[in-house]
């Protein structure tokens, strides 16, 4: 069945309950690390913003940035246009800074609290010299601070800077001042303004002119505290002719309260530079009745500043109670290319409103959008995308493909594509489809000896193949497994 725009599809009841049973599986990363944490008092005020900045010994420009953002945020209202529903968030009931207590400066990993290393071990992200991943450099962020970054020295030999945001502020303030807020201005949206005021840590990547980053870079975000919001900030700059592949992973413990996560990611690609940003998001999604889970309100945007630059977003979104996220590309440089490949899986009571914006400014800019939404349980999964072609974007092209898959009889899928063109000499193509895993398809695979759950996972990974093909090799298999795990259920 092909859906027109905007489309809305709700599942019809299925004959057998077996597909409907295929929901929910225990969350693997739900443990809490018992560690002394330094927290400031709940609530948000100018004093809190000043306190965060002071705790981090920040230069004046950064404090000013935060204060401007805070004042801006106070004048803004929370957006309500997304197809998600949740009780009002009490912004005064959130802790805006939490950090595991440890000695101030870590010369080496040996000084990092073993409990923290153990936590990341358990999450499959070993940081110690012996066990760490051989071809990926990792920045590990625990609550509000970065714990450790691996392979820093090796990367430095190539001139690549990969460190925590706080460290970058201390050591490369000129780069931060130059690029921070240059892609996502403080007034961009409510959550971006909030983040700009209170962000704690995150990752900074700088690839100098002409350098191809010798290994994949990765940041792993872990929320540990139950009442702490996580507001991290990532900034990646690729200079002329540079290229990098970056991966972000996220998990959180199971709490029956909701935690707010409002991150901002900014990417800047200069002439001929290329940035590939992949996310495997597995925040805690809440229980099968929708209790608990992360509210994920994230602003991600890339600026293809120079001609022939290239930014590619790949995301696999499986967690969070609510996902509100639109990784976007501003295609300013002529002949620049933006890509968005997304798999969003929702189950139980999860709600996802996710998609992208492709803003074509320069001539002959090209963008590709491939979105795959999978809804199971009572979840709701919406694609929302904007393709905008400005008056100077002569010869620009976009291709969008939005497919939805429904599992069970109570899930919903929506597609909201917006196309705005001010340039007659441009081409926009949009395709959308909705399908349901049918009893007959499952029976067909089963009647060839393939077990029910394997049959579902074969079909789901088949559905997502176009997106998984875009992930770095090591993570494609992981993503495949993660989806299978998320759908694994109480099938008798």
């Amino acid at each position: 069945m092909t859906a027109t725009t905007p489309s809305n599809a709700v599942n019809a009841p299925v004959a057998s309950t077996s597909v409907g049973d295929l929901v929910s599986q225990p969350y693997r990363y739900g443990f809490v690390t018992d560690i002394d944490t330094e927290k400031i008092a709940k609530g948000l005020s100018e004093e809190v913003v000043r306190l965060i900045s002071a705790k981090k010994n920040e230069p004046q420009f950064l404090l000013d940035f935060r204060l401007r953002a805070f004042r801006q945020w106070q004048r803004m209202t929370e957006p309500d246009w997304a197809a998600v529903g949740y009780p009002p968030i009490d912004y005064q009931d959130i802790v805006y800074y939490a950090a595991p207590k440890q000695q101030e400066k870590k010369a080496s990993l040996d000084e990092v609290d073993p409990k923290l290393l153990e936590t990341f071990d358990k999450l499959g992200i070993p940081l110690s010299e012996q066990k760490r991943l051989s071809n990926v450099a990792v920045d590990a962020v625990f609550d509000s601070v970065s714990i450790a970054t691996t392979y820093k020295e090796k990367l430095a030999e190539h001139g690549v800077i990969f460190c925590s945001f706080s460290e970058a502020v201390e050591e490369h303030p000129e780069l931060i001042e130059r690029y921070l807020g240059s892609v996502v201005p403080i007034a961009d949206n409510y959550f971006a303004a909030l983040n700009s005021a209170v962000f704690s840590d995150g990752s900074f990547v700088f690839i100098p002119k002409g350098v191809t980053c010798p290994m994949d870079l990765s940041t792993y975000f872990r929320i540990n505290s139950g009442d702490t919001g996580q507001f991290e900030r990532t900034l990646i700059v690729a200079e002329e002719g540079a290229s990098v592949s970056y991966l972000e992973g996220c998990t959180a413990p199971m709490f029956d309260t909701n935690q707010l996560h409002a991150a901002v990611v900014e990417l800047v690609a200069l002439d001929d530079a290329s940035i590939k940003y992949s996310t495997v998001q597995n925040w805690y999604a809440g229980d099968e009745n929708g209790k608990g889970g992360i509210y994920n309100f994230v602003t991600k945007r890339g600026l293809c500043k120079g001609p022939r630059s290239h930014i590619s977003w790949t995301q696999v979104e499986t967690g969070s109670s609510i996902t509100w996220k639109y990784p976007s590309c501003v295609l300013a440089g002529a002949d620049s290319v933006g890509e968005f490949y997304s798999v969003a899986l929702t189950n139980n009571c999860q709600q996802a409103d996710t998609g992208t914006k492709m803003v074509h400014v320069g001539e002959r800019t090209r963008s590709t959008i491939v979105s795959k939404g999978i809804s199971a349980g009572r979840s709701s999964n919406s694609y929302r995308g904007l393709v905008q072609l400005g008056p100077k974007a002569r010869g620009a092209r976009n291709y969008s493909q939005c497919d939805s898959m429904l599992i069970g009889d109570q899930a919903a899928a929506n597609t909201y594509p917006y196309i705005r063109s001010q340039q007659p000499q441009s081409a926009v193509e949009h395709e959308a489809s909705t399908c349901r895993i049918s009893e007959d398809q499952l029976f067909y695979l089963q009647s060839r000896g393939i077990a029910f759950e394997e049959a579902v996972s074969m079909m789901v990974s088949g559905f997502c193949r176009d997106v998984f093909n875009q992930l770095p090799l090591e993570f494609a298999a992981e993503a495949d497994k993660l989806l299978a795990l998320k759908l694994e259920g109480s099938v008798g």
């Binding site: 067909y444 009647s447 060839r448 394997e454 088949g462």
Partner: protein
């Protein structure tokens, strides 16, 4: 029944089977015994319950068995899932094989073959040895290897889908193969390829149950028994000549005679 054939072991025994879908009874007491080395044909009009019989035997979840039993290789299959039945050697060739986008045909064939091999206590085949294993069977159904790279049945023509079914049968080496209207929608050449495949795979230790509307498949594959189904039961059983008679006279006379004496036909089929 001739002595030599009836002495071979029963591979499929359907006894007084009743089944319904959404509270409507489709099978109203079907009995059928298929022995090793035999080829049976079940004929009948649309809606007579032929396809339902095949799906119920394979374990389709939409149908509920309300009475009777199905024994496969001496085991009651009631508690067995469709995949368990398949691994045990039961094969259903579909009338309308569904399209499964995104799932590669080659990968599907390999996973299915290995599921069956595992149940047979055979070693699983890796990608390379599977391709060798596949090669000769591709020739049997004269299938172009390019089909393997495509998504399962997606965009296949009717004939290609049916040949893919026979290819699966050749790979899974079933004990009992049920082919549901495998001949429908086939041109002469495809029909010949399918029939040759079935004939080559039929042996003394397995059995085939053909479900068909028409005589033309039975010109190429000679069954030992022909059963006529109507109104959810088998009304008459005979030898290959019965198919010719049906071709000549249609199905009405079977109904009429059954109306007089349905007990007799039930006894014959048992």
């Amino acid at each position: 029944m001739t002595e030599s054939v009836s002495a071979s072991p029963a591979l499929l025994e359907v006894i007084d089977l009743r089944a319904c879908v959404a509270d409507q009874e489709i099978l109203c007491g079907v009995s059928l015994t298929v022995r090793a080395g035999e080829i049976h044909a079940v004929m009948g009009r649309n809606g007579s319950g032929k396809s339902t019989l095949s799906k119920v035997i394979a374990g389709h979840p939409s149908y509920t068995v309300t009475a009777g039993s199905i024994c496969f290789n001496g085991v009651d299959v009631e508690e067995m899932s469709p995949e368990e039945r398949s691994r045990a050697g039961l094969f259903l060739g579909f009338q309308y094989p569904v399209e499964i986008p995104g799932v590669s045909n080659l990968e599907f064939l390999r996973v299915a073959t290995n599921a069956r091999r595992q149940a047979q206590g055979l070693e699983e085949l890796d990608t390379f040895s599977f391709e060798d294993h596949l090669q000769q069977r591709l020739e049997l159904v004269q299938m172009d290897p390019s089909f393997l790279e495509r998504s399962l049945n997606e965009g296949f023509s009717g004939g290609e889908k049916k040949r893919n079914e026979i290819l699966q049968m050749a790979l899974l080496e079933p004990v009992v193969a049920i082919l549901d209207e495998t001949d429908s929608g086939l041109d002469i050449d495809a029909l010949r390829i399918v029939a040759e495949g079935v004939n080559q795979l039929a042996g003394s230790s397995n059995a085939t149950l053909l479900i068909t509307h028409y005589q033309r498949l039975l010109d190429a594959i000679t069954p030992h028994y022909v059963h006529v189904m109507a109104h959810g039961r088998i009304l008459r059983t005979g030898g290959p000549e019965l198919a010719h008679e049906l071709e000549r006279r249609g199905y009405d006379w079977v109904d009429e005679e059954a109306g007089v004496s349905s007990r007799t036909s039930a006894e014959v089929s048992a």
